[in-house]
């Protein structure tokens, strides 16, 4: 067991003791904890500025115990750009949902990634608009029923489009340093997610780092928490495959090791 394993049982310093408003079984809270643990692990709480989105995690500024900025819907990467251009010495993360990041904020995320802004983006993908009551998201699966795709997302007859894979999309750009997707659906997944988030934060000074979490929204999916996790495991992972898609530092280390060998 390393230090990270035992950290699960304590309260991360970078989380406030404020009770969250998240629904039972929602994985936003888990994602927050992982971010807070990464900040703690790197010892950077006092120089971190977090940017929260508009979405269910809009109140994240209450939950993280570091300086926090509330952005307008989708613009967190632009706000983070402003923060880091002014203060490159700060650590800056955004925390965004799928409507926020992959719909209204698509331009901001693509361009922040393309400029390789040294920020860490945490993307919570639950395939739905949670806060506004369960409308279709850009990541909603084909056939998935939402309040604005009542017969199931239909890309053919109703022109509702296909789920957008953000990590894969960003992976076409030259800029980013680190791109990964990890689920939060089981303890083992959360364990792996912790490493991924810490890796992303630790590489932030090198450039743009991005972690997508496959999460759930039991409330708007109309499922019990366990059922929601099982459904996500069965249906979402095949559309949003898990993995580290890019780690420029690791690639560079491997390349230089190969050269030496």
């Amino acid at each position: 067991m390393d230090a990270n394993d035992t950290a699960v049982f304590t309260y991360p310093r970078s989380l406030s003791r404020t009770p969250t408003h998240y629904c039972p079984g929602c994985l936003h809270g888990v994602a927050h904890r992982l971010v807070a643990e990464a900040i703690d692990a790197l010892g950077v709480r006092e120089k971190t500025v977090g940017i929260c989105p508009v979405g269910c995690s809009v109140l994240a500024y209450k939950y993280f115990d570091c300086d926090m900025i509330e952005a307008s819907h989708g613009r967190a990467p632009a706000v983070a750009t402003g923060v880091k251009r002014a203060r490159p010495d700060l650590v800056c993360f955004t925390y965004q949902g799928d409507g926020d990041l992959a719909s209204i904020g698509m331009a901001e995320i693509i361009h922040a990634a393309n400029r390789n802004e040294p920020i860490t983006v945490i993307f919570y993908n639950n395939a739905i608009y949670g806060m506004t009551g369960g409308q279709m998201a850009p990541t909603t699966l084909v056939g998935m029923k939402t309040s604005t795709s009542p017969t199931g997302r239909d890309p053919i007859d109703r022109g509702a489009g296909y789920p957008i894979r953000m990590v894969e999309l960003l992976n076409t750009l030259e800029g980013p340093v680190y791109l990964a997707r990890q689920s939060l659906l089981s303890s083992a997944d959360i364990f792996r997610a912790r490493r991924v988030v810490q890796r992303a934060f630790s590489l932030q000074s090198k450039g743009f780092t991005f972690v997508e979490f496959v999460g759930t929204c039991p409330t708007n999916w109309g499922m019990a928490p366990v059922e929601a996790r099982e459904w996500a495991q069965k249906r979402m992972i095949e559309v949003f495959p898990i993995g580290v898609f890019r780690d420029r530092e690791a690639e560079a280390a491997k390349a230089s090791a190969a050269k030496e060998a």
Partner: protein, 349 residues
């Protein structure tokens, strides 16, 4: 005072910002203000600052929001259609009480409109985006004034923690005039509210969300107490040849300059005409117009719009005298002789 330098309006505005201690510029190209970002893209790196050509005006205004949130002087510039997109980030700046300076070099509309000078953004400057809030709006009529007001804009933004819009038009942007830059160093303001990392203090939050209606009402009350202070302290207006005037022209920016030429022509013919030129469009000099209205036969409001500032002129005059309007739009600039003819016609009525 420094030496006199011959400069193009847009570049003088940009240089004034740099001298006011602004090291950050976020913008998106649009005619007729491209010289501002072009100048900044070179100049800011010379002074250890940063320039980002943003993906859109929406992004640019939100980058300003981020830079202002960490306590840095920051600006953006654009022209009318771009300013529409900037309204989002600027409303959040006002709600979160962040100082930011935005230059709007107006062009004609609606829609894509044209690229020639206009004053048809008076409404979107003085009645800005969503929510109850104000920009402090200042309107220069010469390049020297643009330089001075630009430096003041950063102080106003910092003092009141609010967006300040410098409202100019393509003529100011494109003209060349000799200017002198003030040499006083940028003033320091308390920015203990900024998100600079929470070392040695409680965390700071920059936010415009108040879910409890009572809290949001209180926040609005707070903002408006601040706006009352602005109205009390910051109104600026020029009264030109008004002492003996029987007719008052009302105009701002470039149009005011043209009015002065027209007044020269009218006075040469014996007509006692003066000008009231609002320099701050918000707060608006209502009192000056009320005072003037009792002394003149009428006010002729002249704009490069279909009549926007005239609404405020009427609020000031409150029917104490007639208020007439003359406007040219679409990039058409009123000639002094047109204004002369309007005054002569109205006097003959």
């Amino acid at each position: 005072m420094g030496e006199k330098i011959l400069m193009k309006g847009s570049e003088a505005i940009a240089e004034a910002a740099v001298r006011a201690g602004c090291k950050l510029f976020f913008g998106y190209p649009i005619t007729p203000q491209n010289e501002v970002p072009e100048y900044m893209s070179k100049r800011l790196f010379e002074v250890g600052g940063q320039f980002v050509q943003a993906e859109s005006e929406v992004a640019a205004s939100n980058m300003c929001y981020g830079a202002a949130a960490v306590g840095h002087r920051v600006m953006t510039s654009s022209s009318s259609p771009g300013v529409t997109l900037k309204q989002e980030g600027l409303s959040y700046c006002a709600g979160s009480e962040l100082p930011v300076v935005v230059v709007n070099v107006m062009r004609g509309g609606p829609g894509l409109g044209g690229i020639q000078p206009a004053q048809s953004d008076y409404f979107q400057a003085t009645r800005p985006g969503h929510g109850d809030f104000r920009y402090i709006v200042i309107a220069p009529a010469t390049i020297q004034e643009a330089v001075d007001l630009m430096m003041d804009a950063f102080d106003l933004a910092d003092r009141y923690r609010n967006p300040v819009m410098v409202l100019a038009d393509g003529l100011i942007g494109q003209m060349m005039e000799p200017v002198v830059f003030r040499e006083d160093p940028p003033k320091e303001y308390d920015k203990s509210w900024a998100c600079t990392g929470c070392a040695g203090r409680e965390k700071n939050i920059v936010n415009s969300l108040y879910l409890d209606p009572k809290d949001l009402e209180d926040h609005n009350f707070h903002l408006f107490r601040k706006y009352d202070e602005v109205e009390k302290n910051e109104i600026r207006v020029e009264e030109y040849l008004m002492e003996d005037a029987e007719v008052a022209l009302a105009a701002y920016g470039t149009t005011a300059r043209i009015c002065k030429t027209a007044i020269g022509l009218l006075r040469a013919q014996g007509f006692k005409v003066g000008l009231v030129r609002p320099i701050t469009l918000w707060p608006f000099p209502y009192r000056t117009f009320r005072k003037v209205a009792d002394r003149v036969r009428f006010v002729l409001d002249v704009e490069m719009s279909m009549g926007q500032m005239i609404q405020d002129v009427r609020l000031g005059v409150v029917e104490r005298c007639p208020v007439h309007f003359y406007g040219r739009v679409g990039g058409m600039v009123p000639a002094p002789v047109e204004i002369v003819q309007q005054v002569q016609r109205l006097l003959a009525e």
